[in-house]
Symmetry: C2
Subunit: 258 residues, 2 copies
């Protein structure tokens, strides 16, 4: 614990004294005496810095390459989240300096290997939520859930590919298991193959790219979300590939009681 707390202390001190560009002001705060300091810190009990933490326009191509490279460090969820958050940490600083994106590695393989939500989408959710806040963040994420399901991926061509990938695939689902499973079948390779790993690294690049395209539009105030709430439309939280599991026997949602 000592080291971890120490690191938090260092980062916070940096924010107070350097990150805000106010070393002199920091010294002045101390100069006003302990009672004023305690009054100031009492305000801090209102809680952690609220989102949105802010966004500056990023280059989708650069972020895509970064996500590809990141995949080989800590897999899909980290790959996308860190690709977008790292430049914001550098360009905006502030609260971003206190968020270790390694904490989101657990999204890998559809959450610790269970094949549910593709980790690239959890990573996109983390980035959009912190940077854009709830309303715009969720609108972009809904569009990304739809994009992931409909896009013929991977699209991205890495600068230095670690493996040759022959096939692209439309998953028709935001689920890791379905997306990876369909692609593995088409490519004829196993989960542990270099090709499958590179395919997932490229998908991370694709999702980071498109997320940044949409976030840039939010920044420019030209963004219009295209994907509504599935639960409002279908009467259940859902993907939009009903027949894939239900066949022709898609259940009718119950109407709310009058």
């Amino acid at each position: 614990m000592t080291n971890e707390k120490g690191s938090g202390f260092e980062a916070s001190r940096r924010e107070v004294l350097i990150g805000t560009g106010k070393l002199a002001a920091g010294a002045a705060i101390v100069g006003v005496g302990a009672s004023a300091l305690i009054n100031k810190t009492a305000n801090a009990s209102s809680g952690p810095p609220p989102t949105p933490w802010g966004y500056v326009k990023l280059d989708p191509k650069e972020i895509a390459q970064s996500a590809y490279d990141n995949w080989y460090k800590h897999y899909c969820c980290y790959a996308v989240a860190e690709a977008i958050i790292a430049p914001l940490r550098e360009k905006i600083g502030g609260p971003y300096q206190n968020l270790p994106v390694e904490a989101f590695i657990f999204g890998h393989g559809g959450t610790v290997g269970f094949g549910t939500l593709c980790g690239t989408l959890m990573g996109a959710g983390v980035a959009t939520s912190f940077a854009l806040g709830k309303k715009d963040g969720e609108a972009v994420l809904r569009d990304m859930m739809a994009y992931y399901s409909e896009a013929d991926m991977p699209i991205f061509k890495p600068n230095n590919p670690k493996a040759h990938v022959k096939n692209t695939n439309i998953s028709e689902s935001p689920l890791c298991h379905i997306s990876v499973g369909k692609w593995m079948k088409k490519e004829g390779v196993a989960l542990k193959s270099p090709e499958r790993k590179d395919r997932c690294a490229r998908v991370a690049a694709d999702i980071a790219y498109q997320t940044v395209v949409l976030m840039n539009k939010v920044h420019d105030k030209t963004y219009v979300g295209e994907t509504g709430s599935p639960s409002a439309e279908y009467g259940i939280t859902t993907q939009e590939n009903c027949t894939e599991c239900h066949g022709d026997d898609v259940p009718e949602p119950l109407a709310p009681k009058a």
Copy 2:
């Protein structure tokens, strides 16, 4: 942006001067002069405070009631994450003071309503990852993914229930759509019904409860993870309810190339 940065600044200052319980030491740091401060802050460029941020034992019953109450604020993912992180923010402080759990609301409804990973499990993942770090956090989360799929929920009885819930259900899946869909069918209620909402609030309580039970064992060094990596076992990232979608025609995973 000004306000958000301001909040980060307040929290950080609290951490430096009060949160660590070292007001006098804080003053002493400033006393050593600007050049020493700059040297200290240079170390901060190593990045955000790494996880694990630490854990103190919590009362599962209290955390469960808190998760139930939280559900009615911001739904499932926030409910579990905040129920566990809020007391750590209070009891440990430090980096927890800089993490706004509202940023994880997006996990609701299986991620913005798409019915994928149940938001309670994303919330558990956030809490276990920040508090316990990658190794123990992922081990507990794997157990929770399995627990969620196997438990007959809801179990929790709220102090002041907002609706009457008749049925319990075993989801056999960590997916929101399947878990909620099976329960709705059994209960005979719609997604927007008070009963369905209260069922999900109670499931949030159940997942928070069991997550804290396991985290307490990690704290006491008595925890033994019971759930392996599905991808290692099955050759694909997956749940363990193969036949539910595949029927009798469960694909054989391809072997890695020799």
